[in-house]
Symmetry: C2
Subunit: 267 residues, 2 copies
DNA sequence: CCGAATTTGTTCGTATGTATC
DNA sequence: AGATACATACGAACAAATTCG
């Protein structure tokens, strides 16, 4: 028995055991063969989630034959899964040595009543930037009017942004502002690279989040492209309403965040 | 040209166009054939995300041949995708009539400094319950000690719960409490079906959330089983620290929520 | 430096599932 | 329903790099 067998057996035990009160019936780690998702991808997803528990102190994973038998698949199938994770940059392999976890930390993305994107990620990433992809004045859709407390025929400014940290895209946002009051906010945000700054130039000295909604979804094609997600990637979708201190709604925005690179921190 | 062609063409336009400033190079809605995910499942995932945009006011989707050509696949392939969504309960089909969206509402799950599970879901679900699957006193793992501000060799009470609304599992939680101070909290929670009530009996009249962290992940096998998720399902993972009013940490818990049935509402 | 053990890398052949026409 | 093309999965065997006594 080699040096990791015990550890793997222990993990398998944990994976197979629901609660101590439950009988241990299952003999295998079940994988669904008719789900339309190939075995290697199912294993890649599971490995992505659990690799930290499988690795030893040095970040080394158990050898391929051991992992293969843990998942009850052929070694080549396991290798396909590992290959996908290597291409994602999550693992590295070296012939004769082993397979290692490439540390990839999730950014902590704080959400509080007073968070601004740039402040929140301070000291967590070396390089940060917000790219304004597009801005446009247009007739507001009914749902947007409702969120911004505007009349039916109001116009709004829509601003599309992409936030980047350490060269990886993190958040893809769409924001709406009342066009009457914030006529030039598109140019201002683009010029100063800051919503807070742009607001200040429009006479809004301070603002807070009124509400935030969070959902998890599968990335659609646009998300995958904008956020450079691996196929089958996940996004955290947030819907935010910002108000002035007196309660007037001034911004409604929807963001799609690369779930694999983000932990939301709610305070 | 039938009644929906225009709408579908418009959507295809939207799907294929990134921003107005970008050239329209792409001629097809790209589907990756070597991603380890079969075409029909990729289409099922995309349909799940976008079906509201595709349907008309009555919730009816375009006819199959039209959808098939939108995704550039064979009609049989499209039918496999629709079949999967019918089995998930998201769509219904009737020969000669069409394919319809089955409305499935997400529960709003509020997170604030003073939220309790049972209160939060009030008036949103007819039946709610919290099942205590297991509780156990045990030696605390280092990570748990750290979160609870306990010494290295402390013991904790671990409580496993499953929260259900309208007969569907919503949240699977694991909570840890200091065993010294909350020796009987397992029994108390089980008896009164309420953490708040159990705390009160232990002399904690009031408590607040100190921090909440949220991540999105692929469901692993245990999640899928506990939360009755469809294959490839998503979970929202939250990590919560609760403190007394004076700041003493009294509870650390990790929850895995069925992402498809939940919108987190942060106030 | 040698050789054995360990571990990843590669190549056969075969069977099955997926997608198209 | 049948024919075709390709990706997926398996088993077995061998090659190449690394580690260690």
């Amino acid at each position: 028995m080699n040096y990791l067998s015990q550890k793997v057996l222990k993990l398998r035990d944990r994976l197979m055991t629901k609660h101590k009160t439950e009988k241990r019936i299952k003999k295998t780690v079940k994988l669904d063969k008719t789900s339309g998702i190939s075995l290697w991808r199912q294993i890649a997803d599971r490995l992505r989630a659990d690799m930290i528990d499988l690795a030893d102190e040095t970040g080394r994973l158990p050898p391929e034959p051991e992992l293969a038998s843990l998942f009850k698949v052929n070694r080549l199938t396991l290798r396909s899964a590992v290959k996908a994770l290597v291409e994602e940059g999550l693992l590295s392999r070296q012939q004769g040595k082993g397979t290692y976890i490439q540390q990839k930390r999730r950014l902590k993305y704080p959400i509080s009543r007073r968070t601004r994107f740039s402040e929140g990620l301070n000291n967590q990433a070396d390089q940060r930037s917000v790219t304004i992809l597009d801005y446009q004045q247009e007739k507001a859709l009914p749902i947007i009017c409702e969120k911004l407390n505007l009349s039916e025929d109001a116009h709004v400014v829509r601003v599309e942004t992409l936030s980047i940290a350490d060269k990886m895209p993190i958040v893809r946002s769409t924001s709406w502002f009342c066009a009457k009051r914030f006529k030039n906010i598109g140019q201002l945000i683009k010029k100063h690279q800051s919503v807070t700054h742009a607001f200040r130039l429009c006479g809004v000295d301070d603002y807070v989040r009124q509400s935030t909604e969070v959902e998890a979804r599968h990335a659609n094609e646009a998300d995958s492209r904008d956020l450079k997600l691996a196929p089958g990637g996940l996004i955290l979708m947030t819907e935010v309403i910002n108000t002035e201190i007196n309660g007037t709604v001034i911004q409604y925005s929807r963001s799609r965040m690369a779930a694999e690179r983000i932990t939301l921190l709610i305070r």
